[in-house]
């Protein structure tokens, strides 16, 4: 398969230096440095944890836990990888452990993978032919996204919303790039299947 996904963007020297400067400032205890770090990466951390656990209070607690871990272990950060990927990895592992403690499956699809069960779970009363509106379709797609397993939801968010390359997502999650592509492909196919019975869309 040819890789049409975004290639891993090589980190520029300026990025690496900015990461290093921020880390050193935090380690030196510079006033406001850690708050600056949190402000810079809180969006990414929030997206990962929120997509994994889908509970605002838990998300808040787990995000705090993730950043406290970042603060505690920042001296272990090696500047070979981007700070963003390292923090994303911490956030992912904190959320994953939370799901494991609660015995919530990380990646088991609720159906066989053909997307029909996902489409059915969204709601049968939705008649797109009778009253098609894009916002309604989006609403149903959002509902379908919520029914995806935590891992698929998170991968889709990181790829589409945070626009991270597959290589960086692989570094954060510890999954192989091919596995991530497979998840993205199947999840998007499942989501499109939510619309298919109503409008018969063809990609």
């Amino acid at each position: 398969m040819t890789d049409s996904a975004r290639p891993i963007v090589p980190r520029t020297t300026a990025d690496a230096e900015a990461d290093l400067a921020l880390v050193q400032a935090v380690l030196a205890g510079a006033p406001g440095a850690f708050e600056r770090l949190v402000r810079q990466y809180q969006g990414l951390c929030w997206h990962i944890v929120d997509r994994m656990v889908r509970h605002p209070e838990d998300t808040r607690e787990l995000c705090q836990e993730a950043f406290l871990r970042v603060h505690r272990y920042l001296h272990q950060y090696r500047s070979e990888s981007p700070l963003k990927a390292w923090i994303g990895q911490v956030a992912y592992s904190v959320a994953k452990r939370h799901l494991e403690r609660r015995r919530i499956p990380l990646a088991e699809a609720p159906d066989g993978g053909d997307g029909m069960a996902l489409a059915e779970s969204v709601g049968q009363d939705f008649d797109l032919e009778a009253a098609w509106a894009e916002d309604e379709a989006l609403g149903h797609l959002h509902a379908a996204i919520e029914t995806l397993p935590p891992l698929q939801r998170t991968l889709l968010t990181l790829y589409h919303l945070d626009e991270l390359p597959i290589g960086e997502i692989a570094a954060m999650t510890g999954l192989a790039e091919g596995t991530i592509k497979s998840h993205l492909f199947r999840s998007r196919r499942q989501l499109r299947a939510v619309l298919e019975p109503r409008i018969g869309v063809v990609a």
Binding site: M1, T2, S4, A5, G32, F34, E35, R36, V38, R39, Q42, G43, W46, D50, R51, P56, T59, R60, C63, Q64, F67, L68, H71, E100, P105, L106, A107, E108, E134, A137, L138, L141, H142, I145, E146, P149, R153, L156, T157, Y159, H160, L161, A176, G178, T179, K181, S182, H183, L184, F185, R186, R188, R189, L191, R192, L195, E196, I199, V201, A203
Partner: protein, 151 residues
Amino acid sequence: MKSQPPAFDEHAFDEREWQAQERARRAPPAAAPGDGYALVARALREPPLSPLPAGFAAEVARRAVAGRPAAPAEPWLERLLGTALGLALAVAGLITALVYGGTWLQAVADALPRPPTTALPLGMMLAVCVGLSWLVGQVGRPAGRSSGRRG
């Protein structure tokens, strides 16, 4: 946990469909409104996320600083204190040994069983054997130890 993500399945992957998904992802939101993947891409760009609380960064930073362990003492101070403690222990041990050493030695000698009369000759024979073995080993060894390693 049993829910390990499935590995990549080459057979379930359709390259043309993947390309269609990627085109939709890269396209501007208003493009191809009737296309299924365009709608999916738009929905994924605007997922229903819970809002990030205001002041989150400041709160986390406050908690991190509050939980930070106290700074360790200077290394030279640690070394100095360690040395002083060691010296104090050594002096105390020496004084104790001088005061009570004789009594302890006597008590230990009394507590130990007396050696049998045959033990002394056997011990001497053993010492002689060890000495002879050592002597034979010395005789058989080359005279210059370092000369054998040269070259």
